[in-house]
Symmetry: C2
Subunit: 403 residues, 2 copies
Amino acid sequence: MSDSFHRMWADLAPVGRHPDSGGYRRYAWTGADTDCRAWFRAQAEARGLDCETDRNGNQWAWLGDRTAGDAVVTGSHLDSVPDGGAFDGPLGVVSSFAALDELRRRGARFTRPLAVANFGDEEGARFGLACVGSRLAAGQLTREAAFALRDADGVSLPQAMEAAGHDPEAIGPDPERLAGIGAFVELHVEQGRALDLTGDAVGVASAIWPHGRWRFDFRGEANHAGTTRLADRRDPMLTYAETVLAARREAELAGAVATFGKVAVEPNGVNAIPSLVRGWLDSRAPDQAALDTVLAAVERAARERAERDGTDVAVVRESFTPVVEFEHALRDEIGRILGGSVPVLGTGAGHDAGILSASVPTAMLFVRNPTGVSHSPAEYAAEDDCVAGVRALADVLEGLACG
Amino acid sequence: MSDSFHRMWADLAPVGRHPDSGGYRRYAWTGADTDCRAWFRAQAEARGLDCETDRNGNQWAWLGDRTAGDAVVTGSHLDSVPDGGAFDGPLGVVSSFAALDELRRRGARFTRPLAVANFGDEEGARFGLACVGSRLAAGQLTREAAFALRDADGVSLPQAMEAAGHDPEAIGPDPERLAGIGAFVELHVEQGRALDLTGDAVGVASAIWPHGRWRFDFRGEANHAGTTRLADRRDPMLTYAETVLAARREAELAGAVATFGKVAVEPNGVNAIPSLVRGWLDSRAPDQAALDTVLAAVERAARERAERDGTDVAVVRESFTPVVEFEHALRDEIGRILGGSVPVLGTGAGHDAGILSASVPTAMLFVRNPTGVSHSPAEYAAEDDCVAGVRALADVLEGLACG
């Protein structure tokens, strides 16, 4: 089993890797993405699977009659964030093919159709929206909204698809395809350290935490940094700074996470008191009440400091995703297959599995990440744990798809 | 007197004014700058003054024999910061011509040569270095360093000069010209509220505060904002935020000013804990000891917080200007001319007068700024105060240049 995993991993490793950063730049519908798709097709063909690309640019490698219904599907994505790691996405796709190899080695007899999937544009690095392929298929992104997406160079999503040889005219909801799927299981490297702390190689997802993004606009008055008395200032950088510290404090109290990772300043001059500091808060929590508590407390802290600084605060919710509970029946079945001791854990990250869970019984397996580092060239999982992940996925697929 | 001031002010008002912001974009060696220079030449010619542009692009309008030595020079600059106000610079140039008109109205007889000057590229908005014209003349900026200056589009200073019709080959120190100047007096709108607080229309500068710029690099670890436990984070945004608040606190304690007005974040993604937050501190104080105290305390606060956050801090001094004490003899003479009650005040802003003070006896007059707002379209001085400034400048020039 580990041989086929290793060969695939080595084959995929150089694709889209940036020589300076050592990170991956596999953005949707670019040359690196095309190379990943060619790799996927080659893997499918080498196994005698029937490879197709659906109307939304997702790839499927089928074993058995794909029109028979009640299919078991596994897979993940191959695209990356800017300078991302090797594991987020590819570990799931490579493990899927390796699990199929393992099942064949075991001589498994399939009673349901099986597919390995590669969902397009999961990270949203190029067009700013995550899970475009699965959202389109599930009808959670309209054709009109998808056509309006543009990358940093002004290239639209349909233009990018067309340039990569995919006809954009056909994109849109794909309910028949989803109706033919009985279960979707996505294996993914963990993006935190929960499994490292419990000492397990593999875990099962319980839910995706509710999460949202809020834009805080702190407005003050532009002025000369050298000549304006402190008492005469209305400096929004001070209000921003206090709010950053409040977000950390409140998240800690609520058992949530909260991050100001992006900021934009006007005029952003060394000798100018800013007129505007715009900060984006990303916050996620195990439940809605905790998330509401964090946001209310951060807003209150911002407004209190703004009063002292003579600044204004406006808060806009830019996006919000409610909690996604993975189907309990499928999760329990996976628990039985893997043995009762497999840990069940929540996650703060979005996934194609979260999108599809509205239409299809869906589950996720996580593989231990010893450092918890993700979306970075330093993202890592140990070889033994990857192999344990493949074995667990093979067990699950065998339990679900083999009579 | 106020008639000639008004005509000039109205004539100059539309040049380089941006229709949306209402602010001025008069950057060195652009079309707006050329228009300002044409305006200066027209004002000189209308008064029968001998107008020349020196090797470094500074304009001079001479009354009397410019080779005679011991000249009295007044003036300021016409360029602006991005979306700057109408007063910073132009008030000094317009007031200089208006003061000359007033002296002629008084029938003053000049015993020393007099010149009105327009120094090039004072704000440094285009090439990132302030006071380029006066620095070059005073030998405080080498020809090589000036040739290496580039604007945001990659255009070099000599290319920009040449495109505007000025031969860049001649730039460099101009000691003979400076040796022929017996006194330089620059009138400028105040950039704080000291005169508003004392209730005076006009004041005299004592010194330019020592000031510096320090770049703080806060380094942590890029990671997923949704999945990384708070305890596993090394988030440099937290260290930055604490340092911003410390700078304000320490400046207040020391009677100084300190500002973080510019920040750059990597990767600057909404769902990414930053790997790097780079913040620029601008700080100025009445004396060197106070400035040293502020910087040491801010650095200490940054390092203490960095230890808690698991981040690193590196501090680089990017620029530093020691205190500039204006010549006491000239300041005292101006005090006698204007009457003993004129307030004497320090300033946190740099000026051509500060550069030239190393080579020439130099003084500054400030005109009250009721809001203290500067480097902004809202920058303002009352009409009566502008007229009082012209009268004071005329008195000073009469006292210095008329026997």
